[in-house]
């Protein structure tokens, strides 16, 4: 046996659970066993969301009949897990916008933490779409270490 330099896999899972606080600045006050509320908002093709996005903004968010600004709640019913050296997390239910009319083409969804000052989590893009008096459903990938929506390896 030999010692091996590595980031511990358990630490990656802990990151997804906000266990560690290396610096007091910006550390949210979490209550044990109480999860934050995460939401998903849709953005038009005119948006410029990406890795530099830090928080939810209504700029370039879709609008239309049946759509509420800020989007819908995302369900994380399954706790972060790991396999091998990868920690992963995926919403446990599809994200659905029912009975909406979104006439301006949209191609991105922002997942953000509405409990923690709307801080951004991730941006996911797809082919440009419109919806007319219908439903837009975003089904999640398989929750595992290779396809999970949020993965740390």
């Amino acid at each position: 046996m030999a010692n091996t330099q590595a980031m511990c896999t358990s630490f990656k899972v802990d990151l997804l659970n906000a266990v560690h606080a290396f610096n007091g600045t910006g550390v949210p006050a979490h209550t044990a066993s109480t999860a934050d509320t995460f939401k998903a908002a849709l953005y038009t093709t005119s948006g410029s969301l990406g890795a530099s996005t830090t928080a939810y903004s209504s700029t370039n968010e879709v609008s239309g009949t049946g759509y509420t600004a800020g989007g819908v709640t995302v369900t994380f019913g399954t706790a972060p897990a790991s396999s091998g050296t990868t920690a992963y997390l995926t919403p446990s239910a599809s994200i659905s916008f029912s009975n909406v009319t979104l006439s301006t083409a949209f191609d991105a969804v922002l997942i953000y933490n509405s409990t923690q000052s709307n801080k951004a989590v991730s941006v996911h893009t797809f082919g440009s779409q419109t919806v007319t008096a219908g439903t837009f459903t975003l089904t999640m990938p398989t929750n595992d270490s290779s396809t999970g929506l949020i993965r740390l390896a």
Binding site: T130, V131, G134, F136, T139, P141, L149
Partner: protein
């Protein structure tokens, strides 16, 4: 089957139904449209994410 449309709820037998799909490495998209006299009155879309490109970026940054 009753379909919600821009004209209100309608029986699908009165409408022209069009379906389609597209698949890429990262997603599968399927849509259902209903048309009435040349006007689209309903469009629903279902996107299935297969693999997330953004999460791969995180993987590379932290790994």
């Amino acid at each position: 089957m009753i379909v919600t449309t821009t004209k209100g709820e309608m029986d699908d037998s009165l409408l022209d139904k069009r379906e389609g799909s597209d698949e890429t490495d990262s997603e599968t998209i399927s849509f259902t449209e209903y048309w009435l006299n040349g006007e689209m009155v309903h469009r629903s879309v279902h996107v299935t994410l297969k693999r997330n490109v953004f999460s791969e970026g995180i993987t590379q940054m932290i790994g």
